[in-house]
């Protein structure tokens, strides 16, 4: 077999396994609801879920909840990426600050910050503000940490070389520090985006007035299981699309950095 054959065959084969796995899951789901008589209150028929899904799309019923969730996400991510990059850069400027703050941020990052949701709700209310605050807090840490790593560990010889050739502070930043740090910062921003999305939808299911997470819990409480499952499918679809978009932006940013 030629090497090029192997290269094209491998991803195809693994893609086939992935698709088969998902199809098998849906088939099992279908069998569970028809043959094995699992209560439709626990597991609705996938065909019914599919009908509900199309109904949600066709009527545009999802729009107001999607708008709420995406607005929260956009504002939270804007806050955390701006503050994370600025704070990370300032910390990265001296070895002392890196020694102090890097372990501190890493420790906080490993704490499940969602535990503070009740506190955030007390502070910011049940509306979008508490989701924004929580999403921004959670995504701040991976972004700040990757910015510290990006700017703090630039190979010294590159900085020395640039200085020896007469680089000004601005030139050093623009042509050496930025391109060295950018790929690492972009990875941190993608991670930050993912955790912001997770925590915002998660906190909407716990305590909220609107949003996709809120809608799902609302339907569950009303025992409208098929529609709830349809919304879950919708959220999965949105989350996957957003993550793909952000990953594509990350790759693009790295190439042009």
């Amino acid at each position: 077999m030629k090497a090029s054959d192997r290269k094209t065959e491998k991803p195809l084969a693994s893609r086939a396994v992935q698709v088969t796995f998902l199809v098998a899951l849906v088939v099992l789901w279908y069998l569970a609801t028809t043959r094995w008589r699992v209560s439709p209150l626990l597991l609705p028929n996938p065909v019914l879920v599919w009908d509900n899904f199309w109904d949600i799309i066709r009527t545009g019923e999802f729009l107001s909840d999607l708008r709420v969730t995406l607005t929260e996400l956009a504002i939270a991510f804007a806050i955390s990426s701006t503050s994370g990059v600025i704070v990370g850069y300032l910390i990265s400027r001296t070895q002392y600050r890196i020694r102090v703050f890097e372990p501190l941020f890493s420790a906080i990052y490993s704490v499940p910050i969602i535990l503070f949701l009740p506190l955030y709700v007390l502070f910011f209310g049940l509306g979008p503000a508490s989701k924004i605050a929580l999403g921004a807090t959670i995504s701040f840490f991976p972004i700040a940490l990757s910015t510290i790593a990006g700017f703090g560990y630039v190979d010294k010889v590159l900085v020395t070389a640039a200085r020896s050739m007469g680089a000004s502070d601005y030139q050093l930043f623009r042509y050496v520090l930025m391109p060295a740090a950018l790929p690492i910062i972009l990875t941190g921003m993608r991670m930050g985006f993912t955790v912001a999305l997770l925590s915002i939808i998660g906190s909407e299911t716990i305590a909220s007035l609107a949003g996709l997470g809120h809608r799902i819990v609302h339907l569950a409480e009303g025992m409208e299981m098929a529609r709830m499952f349809a919304y879950i499918v919708f959220v999965v679809f949105i989350a996957a699309t957003l993550n793909m978009l952000v990953s594509a932006l990350e790759t693009r940013g790295k190439r042009h950095g």
Partner: protein
């Protein structure tokens, strides 16, 4: 060589950390040296003897604890990009830029007008034999080619002085031999003043007009050996009696200093006759 002094090192000492500090190290003590315009001077000595420190002090990358350095009569207080260019040991090329972008960026930093850059970049890449690799990234080149590219970047700056810190140190023996020959040819066409730090006795003998041998830490210049052989040096210079005599002289001067360094660091304790023989064998390679 006109005999005019390009670099004057006056009683330079340098220490890292404060006295009494756990990490206090005297890297260089009371070193004075005049380097003539157009001369190629090699600094050679045991590890940690301060030869790289001296190079960094000359280039203005380090301020010495005491003493001064003058370049063309001006005191050195920081990097002097218009007078001095560096070639570092390795990986000093910007990995996200191609070879040509690396060369152009150096000139941007130095302040060369945009209109001049293209011609100068082309000239310097041709000089090191890399004009067909201008669009390659450093990771796509061999170690030897990367160092040629770094040399091209330094040449494009058209400085009177070139400081090279073990530029071929990370390369294999054969590559560094060829690069050494090419460097000798290249430099015979310019009137650059060059200070070249190396570990290799053969490299020092082959390239240098004078070789400054350092003593063990705290280092200072122990002796200066002249190599009276015109540039460009031919490959058969390596096999000549003159080469062997000078190389052996350097070996004799260095041997005791290296022993002293090893004894200090505890590496020379388990010393046997067979190791002695191996060392002699190593020493006789170029």
């Amino acid at each position: 060589m006109t005999g005019e002094v390009a670099i004057r090192v006056k009683d330079v000492s340098h220490q890292f950390g404060e006295e009494g500090d756990a990490r206090h190290v005297v890297a260089l003590r009371h070193t004075s040296l005049d380097i003539a315009r157009g001369e190629l001077l090699c600094l050679i000595g045991p590890s940690g003897c301060g030869k790289s420190t001296l190079l960094n002090v000359i280039g203005g990358l380090m301020t010495p604890t005491t003493g001064t350095v003058e370049v063309s009569g001006k005191p050195v207080r920081g990097p002097m990009p218009h007078d001095i260019a560096f070639v570092f040991q390795e990986n000093a090329l910007f990995p996200w830029n191609t070879v040509i972008e690396n060369v152009n960026l150096g000139m941007t930093f130095q302040g060369v007008p945009r209109a001049e850059r293209e011609a100068r970049a082309k000239r310097s890449l041709e000089a090191v034999g890399l004009k067909d690799f201008a669009q390659h990234y450093p990771a796509q080149l061999s170690g030897g080619m990367r160092q040629r590219a770094a040399l091209a970047r330094a040449l494009s700056l058209e400085t009177g002085i070139l400081l090279m810190d073990e530029p071929f140190g990370a390369l294999d023996e054969q590559t560094r031999m060829i690069l050494g020959e090419d460097l000798s040819v290249l430099l015979s066409r310019t009137d650059k003043t060059i200070v070249f730090v190396t570990h290799s006795l053969g490299e020092a003998t082959f390239l240098a007009d004078r070789v400054a041998v350092f003593s063990a830490r705290p280092g200072t210049i122990k002796e200066i050996i002249k190599v009276d052989e015109p540039h460009p040096r031919k490959p058969d210079f390596v096999t000549s009696q003159k080469f062997t005599t000078i190389r052996n002289e350097l070996y004799r001067l260095l041997h005791d200093e290296i022993r002293k360094t090893m004894a200090e660091t505890g590496m020379g304790v388990a010393h046997s006759a067979s190791e002695d023989a191996r060392e002699r064998a190593d020493g006789s390679a170029l």
